[in-house]
């Protein structure tokens, strides 16, 4: 099979570059192994939340000079970064996802444990506050679903009450979830979202109304709307006060929703999505990658003019560590890893961990190399890249999206 561009990895980065390539009329394929970091997504994209030890609120794009010179943001440059990232809300909207946020000023998202953290773009129905202002509510109801364990009303209340919001806590139940509850492991966010549709949502809304009287808002766990916005809209219509959502621990409903929506957009644009498949390796001619082979397709190669590798970090198995070394398993790409396993970590869990910065090294066009030789038609994007600690910077989604869009525009440009 022949394609213009073949993307290895079906997470956020892979899907976004795939959408851009397909939109530009390229014959595009995505080989996706399965779950990605999107499956524990918070519902917010971060651009830059920490710089020089300070929380960044205003003008995150002007804080880039605190980052190392080789950082992907600095390689792209703030002007171009702005142009690229401006496309994201539109793309999400095309995929059916509402979002709100600004590149000039971070807002604050409410975490599942009740902390407020800077973010750039948050899904429309999720709690987000304007920074530097009092919270917009006086009284809220934190409404859980009875026996659901991954929503923490008391932690949320603790965080909100510190900021002057009075919190009432309640748990509601509807008979539609009884079957699920019979099994001891099924009351999880994504499972519940499959039951909370149609008339079940009306019943839920009626129960929520019983505890929502006199409240400025209701905050609920993100357990609705895995396939579409319809259940969320229905709940918001049925409840007398505004309803907002807080993300839960995995698997994340907004994460799965985002992944499915972007995948569907890619398929609508004519893209070829190969789910549940893994690229085993490829064949090179001189310094060009000609074709790759996958587990499912066996000896039938996927040939392409350009390739993008977006297989993620260790979590996505884009990098593999064994007792002696760390390597990139698809092509054996060059990495920035130095030293043996005792160099990979710090003993303090909360210290910046060196392994978090490991990844493939590239030229300024994000083309990786093998044994020092740059591969001319292979690009790397997202968490697979070397040289940043996205967790500490609060920059994971921004880097993922920016490098994907940057590379896609180079390929299609």
């Amino acid at each position: 099979m022949r394609f213009d561009t073949i993307i290895i990895g079906g997470g956020l980065s892979g899907l976004v570059s795939a959408i851009e390539c397909a939109r530009a009329g390229q014959k595009t394929a995505v080989v996706s192994a399965g779950q990605s970091a999107l499956h524990f997504w918070s519902g917010s994209f971060e651009l830059l939340g920490q710089a020089g030890g300070e929380t960044v609120i205003d003008r995150p794009l002007d804080s880039l000079d605190t980052l190392p010179e080789n950082h992907p943001y600095r390689r792209i440059g703030s002007e171009r970064l702005r142009t690229l990232l401006s496309k994201v809300p539109g793309m999400l909207s095309d995929a059916g996802l509402k979002s709100a946020g600004s590149l000039d000023r971070n807002h604050l998202r409410l975490t599942p444990l009740g902390f407020l953290k800077p973010a750039w773009l948050t899904l429309g129905d999720y709690v987000a506050f304007e920074a530097g202002k009092p919270l917009p509510w006086k009284k809220v109801a934190l409404v859980n679903i009875y026996s659901y364990l991954d929503f923490y009303p008391r932690f949320l209340a603790y965080g909100l009450e510190k900021r002057g919001v009075e919190c009432k806590m309640a748990a509601v139940n509807i008979p539609d979830l009884d079957t699920l509850r019979k099994s001891t492991t099924e009351m999880r966010a994504t499972n519940m979202s499959r039951f909370l549709t149609d008339s079940a949502v009306d019943r839920l809304a009626a129960e929520v109304n019983k505890v929502a009287k006199g409240m400025d808002a209701v905050i609920m766990p993100a357990v609705l709307g895995i396939y579409s916005d319809a259940p969320v809209e229905c709940l918001r219509k049925g409840v007398d006060v505004p309803v907002w959502f807080v993300p839960t621990t995995p698997a994340s409903v907004p994460g799965v929703r985002c992944q499915l929506s972007l995948r569907d957009l890619f398929i609508r644009l004519g893209g070829e999505f190969l789910p549940g498949d893994i690229v085993k390796g490829g064949e090179f001619e001189k310094n060009r990658l000609r074709r790759v082979y996958t587990v499912n397709l066996g000896d039938m190669p996927l040939e392409g003019d350009n390739f993008i590798i977006s297989t993620g970090s260790f979590f996505g198995h884009g990098l593999i560590a064994d007792i002696e070394r760390i390597y990139e398993p698809v092509f054996g790409l060059d990495l920035n890893v130095k030293g043996g396993r005792t160099e990979w970590y710090r003993k303090d869990f909360y210290a910046p961990q060196p392994y978090m910065e490991y990844g493939v090294t590239t030229d300024k066009e994000f083309r990786p190399s093998r044994k020092g030789e740059t591969i001319e038609n292979l690009y790397a994007t997202g968490a697979l890249l070397a040289g940043f600690n996205a967790l500490k910077e609060g920059s994971g989604a921004g880097i993922t999206l920016a490098t994907a869009l940057h590379v896609a525009s180079r390929i299609t440009g």
């Binding site: 975490t111 001891t184 560590a321």
Partner: protein, 549 residues
Amino acid sequence: MKDAALKQEYDVIVIGGGATGAGTARDCAMRGLKTILIERLDFTAGATGRNHGLLHSGARYAHTDPESASECIKENMILKRIARHCIEETGGLFVSLPEDGLDYHAAFIQDCLKAGIPAEELDPKEAVRVEPSVNPEIIGAVKVPDGSVDPFRLTTANVMAARMNGADIMTYQEVTGFIKDGTRIVGVKLRSHRDGSETEVRGRVTINAAGIWGHRLAELAGVRLNMYPAKGSLLIFGHRINRMVLNRCRKPGDADILVPGDTICVIGTTSTRIPYDQIDNMEVNPEEVDLLLREGVKLSPAMAWTRILRAYAGVRPLVASDDDPTGRSISRGIVCIDHEKRDGVEGFITITGGKLMTYRLMAEEATDMACRKLGVDRKCQTASVPLPGSEDTDDDRKRKSHIIELSTEQKAAGDRHGSLTSKIVSDDDAADALVCECEQVSVGEVNYAIEELHVHNLVNLRRRTRLGMGTCQGELCACRGAGLLERHDKCTQRSLDDLASFLDERWHGMYPVCWGETLVEIQFTSWLYEGVCGLDPSEVKVTENPTQH
């Protein structure tokens, strides 16, 4: 509880919440003595919770230390009666590899039989058939009645037995000094590790059962003990490789025992003398990991491709013979010291040396001595009365005879709490919901542990229920556990600090083996808690030394 403790004078104060201390408190209480058990941190926080969990048959010592060997086999049989729910009768093999030769093997069976240990020679091919995980190159094999024992469960059961017999229990209370009346010790001064408050408890006899920390206690009491900390490191694998305990049939050495227990198996140990000031620093270094793996795969080759969950280390309290201050003649046997006779300090006993296997016997010796001092003449019954959880109950019989159909999680809880499982509330689906999916710990079980088993934080909860001990190492259940604990504790900031500290504690066992899926898991955990949940040091206080829980 604390106020009550202050008002009265106890017959016996037992210091140390390991198996020996808990066993001693149980024995004292069963003999009608008014007893209080005081632990610096949590039960099993010391050597008790940091070993193989091997129910020795005694075969390991048959050649080098026949006395220990016969103590072991006797206690082995007693524990099988009184602590059924803490024990798994897996059986064990002593195997000889080509490099070991058969010299040790030849004398081994005779030594075992002399010590009263049923040892049976197996043809190597037969051994591979009954235990397929063993290295197929073995040239000799002997079957012995080794098994596994859960030291957390065993200690908790002893604590509960002590409590049921009227003993008081205090955790997170460190002894900072002794109250003396002339040459007699009449009580202890305590400082709380939870809130820093200081109190005193009075007792007619004080028993030092603090393991390696007993050295320091003795100093506080003005007497000298010669203790030599020996650190042993171990690795936990993600599932059970072996069905039977595997031992190398040679002189005791590094990484020569692989014990299956619960959902995992453990290889160990190394043995290194460490300075006394390092006994609270139980870090496993890369050389120890390499050594354990290198030797371990010789015992069972599957270790090479099995995920390692964690590494941990404990300190053996080796004691020099009483009259030898140089420490040359070190014994692994039981040492019970009457400090009145030895040092002229009245009302003070030290029980130490020994091993997990002989904790009950140690408790018996210490209690006998306390009884003599108090002029009480009552017989020890700890060898015949089952521990709480190991009684033969109706429910238990039904469970075993499959009259009741049990779910996996009910079976898991049954394994952990024995006949006390009936105390776990399971009256609705919400109580049955699983908090920890790896180890099948339900909301009901967590609540039971919080209410009944002296749980103040997530590490306590882990030791009582196995929450967070499985393949995900607390990734998904830590948060849920914190949520449930907070409902009881009602201090939200403390719960958040505890959650953050628990993750750090899990990490400390993971970084020595941080490659493969363990690295994947920890990266996921970091992203989930620090990223998605925003749990970072700007928001929470992390307990500095993770072994200090």
